[in-house]
C-alpha cells in the first residue's frame, strides 16, 4: 500500500503532492517534506511489518501459544533512544531551512500586503503604486449558471506583479480579521493580523503565473479571495512599474475631471450597479436583501432611504466595529457617487436624488476639516 502511495505521489506531483515551487526555499521545503515522509514510511514499514507478521504468525487459530514475557528494560531503552536520534537528524535540516526562511534582511524591494474582507491590497513601498486585487470569477460561474474556467476561483482582476531574481520583502497586515497570504510555489504563508505587521520574503527563480489562496478562515467569502502573482523578468517588471505609475497618474487626472462633470442618472445607475455587484453584493446580496442577522438589507434601509450625507458617510468611512469597511481609498469618488445613487434608486428603493462625484469630494473635504478641528 505504501509503495503505491509513494509512486502515485511521484507520478502526479502537482495533483497529489506538495509543489516544488519556483524558489530556492520552496525547493528546500519540498525536500524536507519528502525526507520526513520517507523516514515515516520506513518507520511504518518496520512497525506495521512486525505487527502484520505477528498477526499472521501468532494467531491462536494457527495453534500459536502465548509467550510469557512482558517487560524488558533493554528493549525499552532501545526504542526510546533510536527515535530520539532520528528526530535529531530531522531537526537539523529543518532548523537550517527555517532560519533561512526567517531572514528578511537585505531585500531589493518591499511590497506591503493588506488583507481585508475579501480582497488583497498591494502597495509597492516608495513607488507610489498600490491597488486592490479581487476575485475575477463571476458569481454565475460559482452558481453553476456559467461554465467554470480553468482557473475557477484562482483568478483575480489585478494580479500582484513581481520581478524574478530579486529578494522581495513582504510586510503583511490586515484591515479587519486575520487572513493568511499563501502562495505554495514560494512556500510563503504568513498571517495578516490587524494592528500588527508580519514579515516574509521570497526570491523567484522562474517567470510565470503563480496562484494561491487565503489560508485563514476570515468570514463568509474566505474561499473567494485568491492570490495571483505574475513573476516577470527584471526589465519587464521595471517597464510594468512605469506603465502602472502612468496609469495611476491618468486615473488621478480623470478623478479630478470627474469632480466637475455631471453624470446623467442613467450613467450613474449603470456604473453604480457594476460597482455594487463587484463590491457590495458579497454581503448585501445582489438583490439588496442582505442576510438577516449578519448583513443588513439595502432595500428599504434607513441609510439608503434617509439623509444622503449619512449614506455617503457610511460608504466612505465604513462603520467601525462592524463588517462594513471604509471604501474611501478603495473606490474613486465617481464610483462612490454612482453606487450611492444606485442604492438609493435601485434595489427596490426610489428616493430620487442623484449623487455626483463632487458631492462625495465635498463630503470628504468637510469631514477631514472637522476631524482636523477636532484635533
Amino acid at each position: 500500500m505504501l509503495a503505491a502511495i509513494v509512486s502515485s505521489a511521484q507520478a502526479e506531483e502537482s495533483a497529489f503532492n506538495m509543489t516544488k515551487g519556483v524558489t530556492d526555499i520552496s525547493g528546500k521545503v519540498y525536500d524536507l517534506h519528502m525526507l520526513i515522509f520517507y523516514i515515516c514510511c520506513a518507520i511504518a514499514l518496520v512497525v506495521f511489518g512486525a505487527m502484520f507478521y505477528s498477526m499472521f504468525r501468532h494467531r491462536k487459530s494457527k495453534g500459536a501459544v502465548a509467550a510469557n514475557f512482558h517487560e524488558s528494560t533493554k528493549v525499552e531503552v532501545v526504542w526510546t533512544v533510536i527515535p530520539i536520534i532520528i528526530l535529531v537528524l530531522m531537526a537539523i535540516p529543518a532548523t537550517k531551512t527555517l532560519v533561512a526562511m526567517e531572514d528578511t534582511s537585505r531585500s531589493d524591494l518591499t511590497v506591503r500586503i493588506t488583507g481585508s474582507q475579501w480582497k488583497w491590497h498591494y502597495s509597492y513601498f516608495n513607488e507610489g503604486v498600490d491597488y486592490f486585487s479581487l476575485l475575477a470569477t463571476s458569481q454565475k460561474a460559482i452558481d453553476g449558471v456559467e461554465e467554470k474556467g480553468a482557473h475557477y476561483l484562482l483568478e483575480v482582476d489585478e494580479p500582484l506583479v513581481l520581478p524574478i531574481n530579486r529578494k522581495i520583502r513582504f510586510l503583511l497586515t490586515s484591515d479587519d480579521v486575520i487572513h493568511s497570504w499563501w502562495v505554495p510555489d514560494f512556500a510563503v504563508k504568513k498571517d495578516t493580523i490587524p494592528g500588527f505587521i508580519n514579515e516574509a520574503w521570497t526570491r523567484i527563480d522562474k517567470p510565470g503565473v503563480y496562484r494561491g489562496q487565503c489560508a485563514e478562515l476570515c468570514g463568509r467569502a474566505h474561499g473567494f479571495m485568491p492570490i495571483v502573482v505574475h513573476a516577470m523578468e527584471e526589465d519587464k517588471y521595471d517597464q510594468w512599474l512605469l506603465a502602472k505609475k502612468d496609469e495611476i497618474a491618468k486615473a488621478e487626472q480623470e478623478a479630478a475631471a470627474s469632480l466637475t462633470a455631471t453624470l446623467s442618472k442613467q450613467e450613474l445607475m449603470t456604473l453604480g450597479e457594476k460597482t455594487y455587484l463587484d463590491r457590495c453584493a458579497v454581503c448585501h446580496q445582489a438583490t439588496g436583501a442582505g442576510i438577516p442577522g449578519a448583513f443588513p438589507a439595502i432595500t428599504g434601509s434607513q441609510v439608503a432611504t434617509g439623509d444622503v450625507s449619512v449614506h455617503i458617510d457610511t460608504v466612505v468611512n465604513g462603520r467601525p466595529g462592524t463588517a462594513m469597511q471604509a471604501f474611501s481609498n478603495q473606490l474613486s469618488d465617481k464610483e462612490i457617487a454612482a453606487v450611492v445613487t444606485y442604492q438609493r434608486n435601485g434595489l427596490g428603493n426610489s428616493v430620487g436624488d442623484l449623487v455626483q462625484a463632487s458631492d462625495v469630494n465635498t463630503f470628504k473635504a468637510a469631514s477631514s476639516q472637522t476631524s482636523k478641528e477636532g484635533q
Binding site: L32, H58, A66, E76, T80, K190, I193, F196, T322
Partner: protein, 549 residues
C-alpha cells in the same frame, strides 16, 4: 409515560438520599421494593446517582451528538461533492464546520470517555460507585442544556457561530453573529460539566480503590483517565477565560484581542491553544487506556511494559503544555519560539512511539484472536500511527508553512480523532457491551460495522492528505477545478462512513434487547476486576470491597 408525572412529584417531595429514593419509587412500583434494584421509569435517569446509569446516559448522549455532528459533516461533504455552490450559503457552510467541530469535540468524544469512566472506573478499582454521585448527576444533566443552547443558535436570525470551533478573534469578536453569546454560555456549561467530571474521577481513583489496589496495580484505563482528569482541571478554566474575554470584547467594550484598544489578536490564539493542545490529549489518553486493555486480552499475554506505559502517558501529558504554539507557526513568531515549539512537538513522538511499540510487543508471540474489539483496537493502532506520522510532518516548521490550514491538517486530526479516539470508543463499546447488557452483540453485524467503518474512514480521510498537499485550504465551501475528483471520492467515503455508524446503532440496540447470554468473563484472557462481576453487572457492585492480592 402516564405514571411518570406522579412518580416525579413523589420524588420531588422526598429527600434525595439513595434509600429514600427507592422508597419513593416503591410507592408506585411495589415489586421494586429492593435497594439493589434500579428505580423504574424516567425518574431513574433524571435523579440517578448510580455510576452505571450515569455512564449509560453519557454514552447515549454522546452517540446522539455523534450522529448530530455527523449530519453536519454530511452537509459539508454534500456541498463539497462538486465545485460551485449548490446546496448551502457560504455563511451556513461556516456554521456547519464550526458547530460540527464543537459538537464532536465537546458533545461526542469527551462525554463518551466520561461515560466509559463512569461505567468502568469504579468496577475496575473495586469501588461501589463514584466518590461524588450527586455531582455526577449534575455534571451529566447540565450537558444536554449546553448543547440545546448551542444548537438552538442555528435557528437565530444571524445563524449559529460561523468562526470555526477555534473562534479566532477578531472574527469571533467584532465580526461574529449575535448568537455568539449563546456559544459562550454553552461552552461555559460544557466546561463546568467537564471539570466536575474530572474532579469526580480524581477523587474516586485517589480515595476509593479497594484495599490492595496499589497505584501500579491500576489498569491502564484508570491511569490514563487519572492523568486526563488533571489535564481537564488544568485547561478547562483557560477555555472559560478565553470565551469570557470574547464575550466582553464583543458585548462590553473591552479590547483584550483588539489592537485598536491595546489588545492583541494573537494573544487569543496563545490562550486558546494553551487549552487546545492539552485538549487534544484529553481526547486521546483514555483511548490509550482502552487499547492497553484490549490488546493483551486478545493476545493472550500481559501488556508489555506496563510501567513504561504509565511514564509515557505522564510525559505526554506534561509535554502537552509545551507545544501549543505549533498551531500558530504562521502567525509570525520569533525564530527562537518556532524552534522551541518545533523541538518540543517532535519530542512527543518519543513517548507516543513507546506506546505503539509496547502494543506491538504485546501482540508479538501472543496467541491472538480477532474478535470485534480487537479488530477496532488494531485499526486504532495503525490509523492512529498514520495520524502520528502526519503530526510529526506538521511539527517541521518549514514544511508546516505549506501544510498549515490545508486539508493535510484536516486529514491529520481526523486520523487521530476519528480512526483514533472514536475507534477506541467503539472498541471499548464492543469489549464491555457483554458486561453492560449481559448479552453478546451480534457478531456478524459487528464485523459488517467494522469493515464498513475501516474502509470508508480511509476513503474519507486518506485522500485529504493529497488535497492539502496540492494546495486546498480548509474551511472553504467551494474550490478550484483541480480538486474536484479527489473531493468527490472523499465525499463518497464520508457518506459511507456516516451510514456505517447506523449499523453500530443497530448492533447496540439489538444487544440491549437480547442475544446470546454473556458469561461473566466472555473474553478468555481479559484481566481486571470488572470480569469478576456477573454479566450484566448488577445495579450496585462492590458494596464490600474485593480483595486484591
Amino acid at each position: 409515560m402516564k405514571t411518570s408525572k406522579p412518580e416525579s412529584e413523589n420524588i420531588k417531595s422526598a429527600p434525595v438520599a439513595d434509600a429514600d429514593l427507592s422508597r419513593a419509587n416503591s410507592a408506585i412500583a411495589v415489586e421494586d421494593d429492593h435497594h439493589h434494584e434500579a428505580p423504574k421509569g424516567i425518574a431513574r435517569w433524571i435523579y440517578s446517582t448510580n455510576h452505571k446509569d450515569i455512564g449509560t446516559l453519557y454514552l447515549w448522549f454522546s452517540f446522539i451528538m455523534f450522529l448530530t455532528g455527523g449530519a453536519m459533516a454530511m452537509v459539508i461533504r454534500a456541498e463539497l461533492f462538486q465545485p460551485g455552490l449548490q446546496l448551502v450559503e457560504p455563511q451556513f457552510f461556516n456554521q456547519m464546520t464550526t458547530v460540527h467541530g464543537l459538537v464532536m469535540v465537546f458533545g461526542a468524544v469527551m462525554p463518551a470517555f466520561t461515560g466509559l469512566a463512569n461505567w468502568m472506573i469504579p468496577m475496575m478499582i473495586g469501588a461501589p460507585d463514584m466518590a461524588l454521585p450527586r455531582m455526577n448527576n449534575l455534571s451529566f444533566w447540565i450537558l444536554p442544556f449546553a448543547f440545546l443552547i448551542l444548537l438552538s443558535s442555528l435557528f437565530t436570525a444571524g445563524g449559529a457561530p460561523d468562526f470555526g470551533w477555534t473562534f479566532y478573534a477578531p472574527l469571533s469578536t467584532q465580526y461574529s453573529p449575535d448568537s455568539t453569546a449563546l456559544f459562550v454560555f454553552s461552552v461555559h456549561i460544557m466546561g463546568i460539566s467537564s471539570i466536575m467530571g474530572a474532579i469526580n474521577v480524581i477523587v474516586t481513583i485517589v480515595n476509593m480503590r479497594a484495599p490492595g489496589m496499589t497505584w501500579f496495580k491500576m489498569p491502564m484505563f484508570v491511569w490514563t483517565w487519572l492523568i486526563t482528569a488533571f489535564l481537564l482541571i488544568a485547561v478547562m478554566p483557560v477555555l472559560a477565560g478565553a470565551v469570557t474575554m470574547v464575550l466582553t470584547d464583543k458585548y462590553f467594550g473591552t479590547s483584550f484581542f483588539d489592537a485598536a484598544g491595546g489588545g492583541d489578536p494573537v494573544m487569543f490564539q496563545h490562550i486558546f491553544w494553551f487549552f487546545g493542545h492539552p485538549e487534544v490529549y484529553i481526547m486521546i489518553l483514555p483511548s490509550f487506556g482502552i487499547i492497553s486493555a484490549i490488546i493483551p486480552a486478545f493476545s493472550g499475554k500481559k501488556l508489555f511494559g506496563y510501567h513504561s506505559m504509565v511514564y509515557a502517558t505522564c510525559s505526554i501529558a506534561l509535554l502537552s503544555f509545551l507545544v501549543w504554539a505549533h498551531h500558530m507557526f504562521t502567525t509570525g513568531m520569533p525564530v527562537f519560539a518556532e524552534l522551541f515549539f518545533m523541538y518540543c512537538t517532535m519530542l512527543i513522538a518519543v513517548p507516543t512511539g513507546v506506546k505503539v511499540f509496547n502494543w506491538v510487543a504485546t501482540m508479538w508471540r501472543g496467541a491472538m484472536t480477532f474478535e470485534t474489539p480487537m479488530l477496532f483496537a488494531i485499526a486504532f493502532i495503525i490509523l492512529f500511527t498514520i495520524g502520528g506520522f502526519s503530526g510529526l510532518m506538521l511539527a517541521i516548521v518549514p514544511a508546516d508553512f505549506q501544510y498549515h490550514d490545508t486539508y493535510f491538517v484536516v486529514a491529520h486530526f481526523h486520523y487521530v480523532l476519528v480512526s483514533g479516539a472514536v475507534f477506541s470508543i467503539m472498541a471499548a463499546a464492543y469489549y464491555w457491551l457483554p458486561k453492560w447488557t449481559g448479552n453478546m452483540y451480534d457478531h456478524k453485524l459487528s464485523l459488517l460495522h467494522f469493515w464498513c467503518s475501516v474502509i470508508s474512514v480511509n476513503v474519507l480521510f486518506f485522500p485529504m492528505h493529497f488535497l492539502g498537499l496540492a494546495g486546498m485550504p480548509r474551511r472553504i465551501p467551494d474550490y478550484a477545478i483541480q480538486f474536484a475528483d479527489v473531493n468527490q471520492i472523499v465525499s463518497i467515503g464520508g457518506f459511507a462512513f456516516g451510514l456505517s455508524q447506523l449499523i453500530f446503532l443497530w448492533v447496540v440496540i439489538k444487544c440491549i434487547r437480547g442475544g446470546e447470554k454473556a458469561t461473566d468473563k466472555p473474553w478468555e484472557h481479559a484481566e481486571g476486576l470488572e470480569w469478576t462481576l456477573p454479566s450484566p453487572a448488577p445495579h450496585h457492585t462492590f458494596s464490600t470491597p474485593p480483595k486484591i492480592d
